[in-house]
Amino acid sequence: MKIVMDRAKCTGIGICEALAPTIFEVDDNGELVVLSAEVPEDAQNEVTEAVEGCPTMALRLQS
């Protein structure tokens, strides 16, 4: 599964980073960086939580 981010929707609030810190990081400019577009086996749950928890629906998963 791959993570797809819509930069136009993202407001850089970092809920995804709080839920899956190894995958998402808001950088010093307030822009979200997806550290690993491919979802690692052992991070499936937290990535799903992060995608579902995004308040602006800027994240989705693509198989």
Partner: protein, 335 residues
């Protein structure tokens, strides 16, 4: 959904009432300071403030909890972030209280007076930074540009007012009313004392159950059908977070119950969408550190009188609540 119209008493452009795309540009100016990384780095400072306040709370005697303990914490943290010196923090708190509590007859200062006092104070902080920038939020906002232009004086002021009020009343309300929920559910309090690793999920449940901010008003940009009703484009909609957070279609049969182990807990206490609470990581950190420190010192807390609420429709916090705290170590001597 887009934004409510600005309140008539406050004609300034506010972040929470600005539509995209300008909203995103404005918000990004400060969101950098509120990312999970930045907020985690604040944990030692937050813990030191929490500890210094809790040091004044002694077990076994009646004490006032809302103003006397809880209210001191978020205001210090947000005032520190903004760049206000520590000796001004208590004055800051009085103005912040008055600027949201105008409907409460016991708040002496009118919200307009408090607003004016805060504006004059912010003006002083800005003047000091005209010469020497520091690394606080005021300095960051003074240097910020949106679409190549600096913020207007009004925009800068409204940012500072919003950050102060939003960072202060809400978190304090969460902690005070979260404590009331624990007192009213003694079995949950015992569970939390025995297993502090439950504190993060307990905080989420407090957010859901308490819903510190009661509502926000937005305007529909298109027709929306919802449970057999149509919200027409252009109509105002009052979003009642507390009602959403007790929705049995989301939270099931236990929607009305306080359950510190609830998971998943997709509450809307921070709102959602473009305007979702900017400070949610900070609020979670403050509440977690508070209950970690508080429950490590006190394993019992009981109300010794009524819980008096602020008469505010939007953030109806606790004005006073008297409690007696019990500590496991000193319990024998106290009782």
């Amino acid at each position: 959904m887009p934004d409510g119209k600005p309140r008539t008493v406050s004609p300034r452009p506010m972040l929470i009432t600005t539509d995209p795309p300008r909203h995103k540009a404005l918000r990004q100016l400060i969101s950098k300071g509120f990312t999970p990384k930045h907020i985690s780095a604040m944990e030692p400072d937050v813990r030191a403030i929490v500890r210094s306040v809790l040091d004044s709370a002694k077990p076994g005697i009646e004490l006032e909890y809302a103003e006397g303990i809880v209210a001191k914490i978020p205001v210090r943290i947000i005032a520190d972030l903004l760049g206000a010196p520590a000796e001004d923090w208590e004055q800051f708190r009085a103005w912040s209280d008055a600027s949201v509590g105008s409907a409460d007859p016991d708040v002496k200062l009118s919200s307009q007076e408090a607003f004016g006092a805060l504006t004059a104070y912010f003006r002083q902080l800005i003047d000091l930074r005209e010469q020497n920038r520091t690394n606080d939020l005021i300095s960051i906002l003074m240097d910020a540009e949106v679409e190549g232009e600096s913020l207007s004086h009004d925009e800068l002021m409204s940012f500072l007012h919003l950050l102060l009020v939003a960072g202060n009343e809400t978190t304090r309300n969460l902690i005070a009313l979260g404590t009331v929920a624990l007192i009213n559910h003694p079995e949950q309090l015992r569970m939390l004392v025995h297993d502090p690793s439950l504190i993060p999920t307990a905080i989420e449940e407090m957010l859901r159950y308490v819903s510190p901010v009661t509502h926000m008003t937005r305007w529909a940009t298109e027709d929306v059908d919802l449970r057999g009703k149509t919200i027409k484009k252009g109509q105002a909609v009052v979003l009642l977070y507390g009602a959403a957070n007790r929705d049995e279609e989301v939270f099931g049969d236990t929607a009305e119950q306080f359950d510190i182990t609830r998971r998943p807990n997709p509450h809307l206490a921070f709102g959602t969408g473009e305007h979702a609470c900017l400070g949610l990581s900070l609020a979670r950190l403050e509440a977690r550190v508070f209950f970690e420190e508080f429950l490590a010192r006190f394993d019992r807390v009981e109300l010794t009188g009524e819980v008096l609420r602020m008469r505010s429709t939007m953030v109806p916090g606790v004005r006073t609540m008297h409690v007696r705290l019990g500590s496991a170590n000193e319990g024998a001597a106290v009782r």
